[in-house]
Amino acid sequence: LIATDILTITINAILVGGLYATMSYGLALIYGVMKIINLAHAGLMMLGAYVTFWLFRAFGLNPLLAPLVVVPLFFLGGMALQGSLVRRVMKAPPISSLLLLFGVWLILQNVAYLIWTGDTRSILTPYTYASVQVGGISISVIRSIVFLVAVLSLFLLQQFLTRTYVGKAIRAIAQDSEATKLVGVNVGRISMIAFGLGVALASLAGSLMSLLYAFNPDFGRTHLLKSFCIIVLGGLESFVGVAMGALLLALAEAWSVMVMKPALQDLISFVVLVVVLVVMPGGLAGLVRRQ
């Protein structure tokens, strides 16, 4: 490999990092506030992809604009899910929420099979193959857009969490739910909003992923596993940490291909997961705080 090839791999890895971050924010938010692992995250990403596909096919809606419809829709759906089901198991042992959300994932999958069948779907647009050549390096336009959305999402999330009452309440609950309740915050309502936001972020990721990948109702499994690794690496509750973790994982995976078989790419994720859990349980964010 020559320098241009290494640069191509690196730039592409940074763009992939953007995608990884987008698909992990929702998982981190829900864990941060409610301390539950949203196993339905993969199903929600899958559904986000299908709704985008449906809007594109049925109404000709540009898939890049689809998140404007998909995200609010899933935000409301997420709040309803939290209010009707998740709320009931929040005080129960973690296995209850895991099983509940795993069940939700299976239901979402089967609903998708009923509506869209098991056929592999995809979205092809005039800009699917668009790329920009910079000094002999090919940069994908769609992946660049996904990266920009990831950066924008991080910025907006940070603004929301630090500048608004609801955002501050979400952070307070993440730190100490009981104390937050004592100062008069409606923890139930804020948790519902946080869950809705987490689901909306999952749908945003799914919507963007529909531009890159072919998908079927089983879509999202591989991405969910990577998201777990990323939020552990990032520090479970920090969005900047998640973004850093996503970038680091994407770079590690891409660079590993230069010296290892590409089939071992997934091994990187799980080695990272184990090492981080053992060596620095607070993830990158914890490491930064300790410094």
Binding site: L1, I2, D5, T8, I9, N12, A13, V16, L19, N110, Y113, T117, G118, D119, T120, R121, S122, L124, T128, Y129, S131, S138, S140, L212, Y213, A214, F215, N216, P217, D218, R221, T222, H223, K226, A250, E253, A254, V257, M258, K261, P262, A263, L264, Q265, D266
Partner: protein, 417 residues
């Protein structure tokens, strides 16, 4: 007393209704009232779509045979209707194993039809082997399934290794026609599964046998359902191969070829193994799919009259469900069931060993499979030819191999864009 008895008997005979003269009707030989077959298919889960095709194909074959009264079984001297017990394995190997166990031990089936996907078939075929029940499938092609010395497992799909060998033989023909260089530098990328390893073994075997013709400049496995192929494709670019030989499932084929096109890569020959002409691939890839070669077990374009008849009746039967016979799944499912029926008929018995022996000696002609004949090698797998196709820019798919099915001339090398 004796006289009274004689009178009563005489009266009873004379008063009895006139019965028809007794004819020598043979008493039916004792035996089952039906032939019980079993299968476990992925009706839900990741492989639900192929599972549905196999289910409908099995049902069509059974409906047809039952409309003719069933399968003639010589041992009982009559036709017996066929009934299928079907379970959903949820695309899960563990579930699949337990369901085949149940079919044999609880449902007491006479023979088994196979499931779908190499992983599941590999897992559950240990069950019929353990109990000695004949099993025929058209859904798991990897040689890893058949090279275990099993006696009861049969398959109507030729091996993945043969897929690679067929592709390589076709490349040799193109070289001899002066269309491709010698040696041809091959970039070989394959999914890290039994399927992919078989493909790699075939390409390697042919390359080692023909060092003057082929040179492998890249040989890399990749993870199934990968999220990004740019690093691998960058290595491919750096390897300066003449031909890209890849073995991938549909989702990976779509992602890899999208990124391949995005990066502006070019090779004189591009193939993704068994993938290529799928409708889903055309929808996902658009013009980028042009000239991609495919090597598959079956094509609805095969110019055999029985293929056209099968396509017509399958699509008519499942019109309401919107199912078409464009992929190989329904064809191989249908022919797998017919092969088992033929074996039972040839065996003339429902004895498992006799059915197994009939499968070993199988020679079913007029079949819809490529080569029109179903037969099995010693390891239980068919060894019929593959059909090689190429996607043309006008949206059509031409068949380039085998010689008795050619429908057009291949465009080699692929014109650069």
């Amino acid at each position: 007393m004796v006289l009274t008895l004689v009178v009563v008997l005489a009266l009873s005979v004379s008063c009895a209704p006139k019965a028809a003269a007794p004819t020598p009707t043979p008493t039916p030989l004792p035996g089952p009232s039906e032939i019980l077959l079993g299968t476990a298919l992925p009706i839900t889960g990741a492989e639900a779509r192929p599972g549905l095709y196999f289910k409908t194909a099995y049902e069509l074959a059974i409906k047809e045979v039952n409309e003719q009264g069933g399968i003639y079984v010589k041992e009982y001297d009559r036709k017996l209707p066929v009934r299928l017990i079907l379970y959903d394995d949820k695309t899960d190997p563990t579930t699949s194993v337990s369901l085949y166990e149940r079919l044999i031990t609880e449902d007491k089936v006479h023979a088994l039809l196979g499931g779908y996907s190499t992983t599941l078939v590999f897992a559950h075929t240990v069950v019929p082997e353990k109990y000695g029940i004949p099993y025929v499938n058209g859904g798991g092609a990897s040689t890893t399934i058949y090279d275990r010395g099993f006696k009861w497992i049969f398959c109507t799909l030729a091996s993945i290794k043969k897929l690679a060998l067929t592709t390589m033989d076709w490349l040799i023909v193109q070289q001899d026609a002066g269309k491709l260089p010698k040696p041809l530098k091959i970039g070989l990328v394959w999914e890290n599964t039994a399927h992919g390893k078989d493909y790699q073994a075939g390409v390697r075997e042919k390359t080692e046998a023909n060092p003057d013709r082929f040179e492998i400049v890249l040989d890399e496995p990749f993870e199934l359902h990968a999220t990004d192929f740019v690093p691998l494709l960058t290595k491919l670019k750096a390897a300066k191969a003449d031909a890209l030989l890849s073995d991938a499932h549909l989702e990976d084929y779509i992602l890899m070829h999208r990124q391949y096109t995005e990066m502006g890569l070019y090779h004189q020959v591009v193939t993704y193994g068994a993938r290529g002409p799928e409708k889903e691939a055309r929808e996902a890839l658009g013009d980028a799919v042009h000239y991609v070669l495919g090597c598959s077990w079956w094509s609805p374009k095969l110019p055999y009259h029985q293929v056209a008849e099968f396509v017509k009746k399958y699509e008519e039967a499942y019109k309401a469900e919107g199912l078409t016979a464009t992929s190989w799944y329904p064809a191989l499912g249908y022919e797998t069931a017919r092969t088992l029926f033929k074996a039972i008929e040839n065996a003339g018995s429902l004895d498992p060993e006799k059915i197994r022996q009939a499968l070993v000696n199988m020679n079913m002609t007029g079949s819809i499979v490529v080569g029109q004949r179903v037969y099995f090698m010693e390891n239980g797998q068919i060894d019929n030819p593959y059909v090689m196709t190429q996607n043309m820019p006008d949206g059509s798919v031409i068949i380039m191999h085998p010689p008795d099915a050619v429908t057009g001339e291949a465009v080699v090398p692929i014109p650069p864009k």
